[in-house]
């Protein structure tokens, strides 16, 4: 029997399509039925409230979006008191994205959030530590974060990797050894756009994370590298410019077990349900029982 059912480290999803953290929230419930999503991923939650970066926080360039939101959020207390119950009300697994400035913050977040009905954690290692070093750019730092959270929770741990590294394989292997149950890849590429009239960067912070269809080939390649490094151990949630069924399939063929739609939620708020329907049609058209039959199966040129 044909099935879209997907299991990511014990998180049972009715289809493999979720949102990328920070690109879809409860407001989207006015655009489509959020219970259609395979899973919902929250915006990055931090221990304390954060007011975010200066504006402009987003800018466009050809086929890409740049953002430097700065993790604006109300902090974990308000998240637990006011937001989580709404996320959970759709009856699909809720994955909470967490960001910390040191190991203790990640640990405190995991402890605070555990036992409230969430399906798992997505650990954002693309934020800087107190010395300004991005955790995810150093296999040892990324491993330390994963290990610290692993010590305090049995919930599935998904580590979201930054592509801004020389060897994403090394980071993937390090976090898997430290206890990651799955990998999200990729977070945004760092970039900059400059207004040539004013000679000022178009983002208040000066630079930001590049996302959107323009980065898709780069992201697909990173997912393939991770697949080759750790596929026999953990599943991959592929993301980076997915705006259509075809784009989602690229990631699946590269090796992803599930996919996340990010920037495309802005371009077309109904991208997620459209991709889910498209994948169902694809199974039908190709006579496949499940997407697992093509996952990772790149045919050599």
């Amino acid at each position: 029997m044909k099935t879209m059912n997907t299991n990511i480290a014990g998180i049972k999803m009715k289809n493999p399509v979720m949102n990328a953290s920070g690109t879809l929230g409860l407001g989207f419930g006015d655009c489509f039925d959020l219970s259609k999503c395979g899973a919902l991923v929250t915006k990055g939650v931090t221990l304390l409230p954060r007011s975010g970066n200066s504006t402009p926080r987003i800018a466009e360039a050809t086929s890409v979006l740049l953002n430097s939101i700065g993790l604006e959020n109300s902090g974990v207390k308000v998240f637990l008191a006011e937001e989580l119950s709404v996320w959970l009300s759709f009856g699909v697994p809720v994955i909470v994205n967490i960001s910390g400035a040191d190991l203790q913050e990640y640990v405190d977040l995991a402890v605070a959030l555990e036992g409230h009905g969430i399906a798992g954690f997505e650990i954002n290692v693309s934020c800087p530590n107190r010395e300004g070093v991005i955790f995810g750019t150093d296999p040892e730092l990324a491993s330390n974060v994963t290990d610290a959270v692993r010590q305090v929770t049995d919930l599935p741990l998904i580590v979201k990797l930054t592509p801004n590294v020389t060897s994403i394989k090394a980071v993937a292997q390090a976090v898997v050894e430290a206890g990651a149950d799955a990998i999200s890849a990729v977070n945004t590429f760092l970039g900059m756009v400059i207004d040539v009239k004013t000679r000022r960067p178009k983002l208040g912070k000066g630079f930001g994370g590049v996302s959107g269809p323009g980065i898709r080939p780069l992201a697909v390649k990173k997912v393939r590298e991770i697949y080759e490094a750790v596929n026999d151990q953990v599943p991959i949630i592929g993301m980076g410019g997915i705006d259509s069924t075809e784009a989602a399939l690229e990631f699946i063929i590269a090796g992803a077990s599930a996919v996340a739609v990010g920037t495309a939620n802005f371009t077309n708020p109904r991208t997620i349900p459209e991709v889910i329907e498209g994948l169902e049609r694809y199974l039908e058209e190709q006579g496949l029982e499940s997407l697992e039959e093509i996952r990772g199966r790149i045919i050599p040129v």
Binding site: T23, F32, G52, S54, T55, R57, I58, N265
Partner: protein, 267 residues
Amino acid sequence: MNGKYQTALVRRLSQVAAGTFQLDLETAISDHVQPGQFVLLQPLAETSLLPRPFTVYFAQQGIFIRLVFEARGSNTRLYSQLKSGDKIRVLGPCGQPAVIDDSARLAIFIGGGCGLASLHWLAFAAGQKKIGLLCAAGFRDKDHVFSTKDFDRLGTPLEVATDDGSFGVSGTAVDLFQNIIFGEDGLPKNESIRVFTCGPTVMMREIARITRAEGIPCYVFLEEMMACGLGDCKSCAVRTNSGIKHVCKDGPIFESKEVIWDEDDEY
């Protein structure tokens, strides 16, 4: 469930001034959109990812919404080429409706360039409340002046200034405003006046400064780069005296004294 994201039918597109267009869209959004709210149009340029926000210029309930915009970039140029019968996806209504409280006796609307488009429907609604209206706008030159006939219909002719003096008086919207407040027929400066303004930031900032000094409540339409329009992505942040707010969810209208204007201020 899908209420906010609709496919709209282009009813009519017409040019109303140099580079300025009026777009009527048949959409169910017209059922419940209110003055002050905005919609996002899907990007039409192939390499654009973000929808473009426009305050609703006017709506006929259950029939259509009207947008007035300047064709400046690749998307607005494509919107200006839409034809009757074309379809476009629209998200809305977004933002909070404007509120003119019942104690107001006189509402003053000051528009800068195509910012005037954001004020029209609100002025129309204020007019229906039987309160006094004063409307003024500044434009580059006579070719860019729009909307005067629509304001005539409100029974309050639009006072116009142009940078080059080719239409109305020579000067800016701020000059017109200063004349309204400080001119010979000076106004009674009391709590019953409300000022609404939309235009370039420098202009709104100056009007905010004057109204603050005079103790007149002033409301500004703020603009920030926006992605989701639904309050979720936190892109369109505005610093206010009561913390971070977002244009798409808390705005687009903010009381000017609430806004922290000085970019050098710390959070």
